[in-house]
Subunit: 422 residues, 2 copies
């Protein structure tokens, strides 16, 4: 039997658990060494394939591979790079297949969000057209939780846990100080188009009493006067108001608050960030003392407080990509299927890549309260299972012992890739 | 024997571990119930004493008190409120003693930073002058770590641990993406006058390789051209540059970057925050894609990743306040003494309140590298012991089970406090 190598690439924004998927792929491939070659990882994602920068994971000891399970970031590098449509430019797809051929690659595992699943689909089509034997398997990943069909996306559970905890901790802080100091706190979280991450701010069930009390979603345009009234009610009732806002919050004209056009909306210039704009609006209209935080990359890299369920799912998807490949599957994306709610049980499913490519799943309307400023019990029901368990990393000298791989590159055999001018 | 009650108040910005001190006070006082009355806590700190809003902790069950050890924020409320100098206005001090007298209070425990120690000292002087028998004991607390004499301040070790971990996690994220995306990341942390918290960003010993690579301290005025050169070197060498900046960073004219005057310094208006100003400067001069985060209250309330050493010290200080009171001590602040470095050993010491009042301890010059952009090995030696151990809170349903006390107020016996106009 002629053993083929696996090409694995990480794509788009990284997460606290994408390396757990890499760990699952590599550990499982090692178990099937009789049937499979080595796992070659793309340096900086798909760019590694185009540029023939392939990392030979065979050089990584088992202990380092095990360490991937608790190391955030993308261990091989990721990239933001979208291949053009096949009909526009076939060249990069041909190059990919040349590189795959030169390195005996028979499996293409692409670990990313919607764009990446689209790319995996196109590569699959191209390989069929050219008669190159390649099994293409998409592995979901995105903190945004916006992929269709799959119940959730690895990376989301951990960022949700981080946001739920951080928002509560900060609320306890403000609650302590509000008599003489800060009255309003605004925490900005990611999610430019979908409010999944912001929604996690409401996961404590007794939220209103101890905060946060208001959540702002990209799905709900900000009605200035209703919002200010709600803030004032909170301050009058609880003594303070704790707010979680999505970075993607928009005004009633559909413009992002965090862009330069916030000058028109609220009369203030700023350098980016929805939290400072919202804080300034509150200061101007209600004159409350405020603080704001922007958690940015901290939220999606916070492996120190990752969800055990999320880590388990990310890891299992990596394992299942290998077993699906061995079972002859191709042109599919693996999914997480919710089997039961109480107790929460899940399994790995699959869906044709054509069905997932370039779709975004928004927060359902019934996950948002009638007034648009909080989540509903349905939302909490859906989300709580995803943040269960604390997958603490190993520590050394008071700090997480995150690993760094050797990342040895395979010797190149092709000429350098020079895309012809389009 | 006539048992006296203890008055305990939390003061100033709260921390992830100030409630551990409260836990130590209350648990120890309960052990000595033969000699001591109840612990009455000030609602919203010293304001609770002035307004006769006293929380009777006797109503709190042992389980809730035990829960204080892992609950952030200030369980009884804190305040930013500085009493005027005795010679300016004796009235509030007299009022405090009236309230203490009305509620059989013989011990005043004040849990706070420099201002609070000063207040404790003044209350002590006033009590002596008026012949009121009161033992005043200051208990240190501040994330800023800027109190003199004590080796460290409870609250600091936990914020240091949070900043060290968060800065590393975000750096791993950027490192993964830098080839095609963000090149520069700026994390803003607290510390308006002293750079202790920012310094914690450099605690990983192999920092330069995996970031952060630059730390900006309030003690070192920002030299624009040297800074930009350093950023450029990092991006050219590592592919990215990860920066931790103190909120208190100033330009060479001594002005805060985060204030409105940053318009003059760098030509841009903004709503506050040093991180966006620094990011914008880099964008303008070097044209690197950037991201920034402002951790604000998240850092000081991050009980989910508190340092075990910090929690132990905070708790022990609370216990020791009670035993010091029983030993007849007064007009002292308790301290942490470093007994040995390897292994790290510490004990509780004491210092006259007069020696600590209103002093700030800056980061020593030899804790900052020669070029002013990083910490030294001396700094790491000092700081690493303070972040050892992970004092994880209890979890329930995927979230920390932080407690909320009943906070029953004692019946008032005095007329409402109406300060006469000054």
């Amino acid at each position: 039997m002629h053993k083929k190598n696996i090409f694995y690439a990480q794509s788009g924004g990284v997460t606290a658990v994408i390396n757990a998927t890499a760990c699952g792929v590599i550990e499982t491939a090692r178990q099937y060494s009789a049937q499979l070659g080595t796992v070659l990882a793309g340096k900086d994602g798909i760019l590694g394939a185009l540029q023939e920068n392939l990392i030979d994971t065979a050089f990584e000891p088992d202990t380092l591979i095990a360490g991937l399970k608790y190391t955030p970031g993308g261990a091989f590098g990721s990239c933001r790079f979208k291949l053009k449509a096949l009909q526009e430019n076939r060249e990069p797809y041909q190059r990919l297949l040349e590189v795959f051929d030169a390195h005996n690659i028979g499996y293409f595992f692409y670990n990313g969000g919607g764009d990446s699943q689209d790319t995996a689909h196109k590569v699959s089509i191209m390989a069929r057209e050219m008669g190159y034997p390649l099994q293409c398997i998409g592995i979901p990943k995105t903190i945004d939780n916006d992929l269709p069909i799959t119940d959730t996306c690895p990376g989301f559970g951990s960022v949700a846990k981080y946001v739920a905890i951080s928002a509560r901790e900060a609320s306890l802080d403000i609650a302590s100080m509000c008599t003489t100091s800060t009255k309003v706190f605004v925490l900005e979280v990611m999610g430019r188009h979908a409010g999944w991450i912001a929604a996690a701010g409401g996961l404590y069930s007794e939220a209103a009493e101890t905060g946060p009390q208001i959540i702002l979603f990209p799905e709900v345009p900000l009605k200035k006067s209703e919002f200010l009234q709600k803030v004032q009610q909170c301050v009058e009732h609880y003594g303070y108001c704790s707010i979680v806002t999505s970075e993607g919050i928009r005004n009633e004209q559909g413009e992002f608050l965090s862009k330069g056009n916030s000058i028109d909306a609220f009369g203030h210039a700023q350098l980016g960030g929805a939290a400072p704009v919202i804080s300034q609006l509150i200061k101007q209209e209600l004159d409350y003392k405020y603080h704001w935080a922007v958690s940015d990359y901290l939220q999606r890299s916070a492996r120190h407080i990752a969800s055990q369920v999320d880590v388990d799912q990310a890891y299992q998807l990596g394992c299942s990509a290998v077993t699906a490949a061995l079972a002859g599957k191709s042109d599919i994306m693996l999914t997480i299927q919710r089997e039961s709610q109480r107790p929460y049980q899940w399994s790995i499913g699959e869906v044709p890549l054509a069905e997932v490519a370039n779709q975004e799943k928004m927060l359902p309307r019934d996950f948002i309260s009638a007034d648009g400023f909080f989540i509903t019990e349905q939302c909490r029901e859906y989300m709580l299972p995803l943040i269960q368990g604390e997958a603490y990393p190993l520590y050394s000298n008071g700090l997480p012992a995150y690993v760094t791989l050797n990342n040895n590159l395979v010797k190149k055999t092709l000429a350098a890739y020079r895309p012809s001018p389009q």
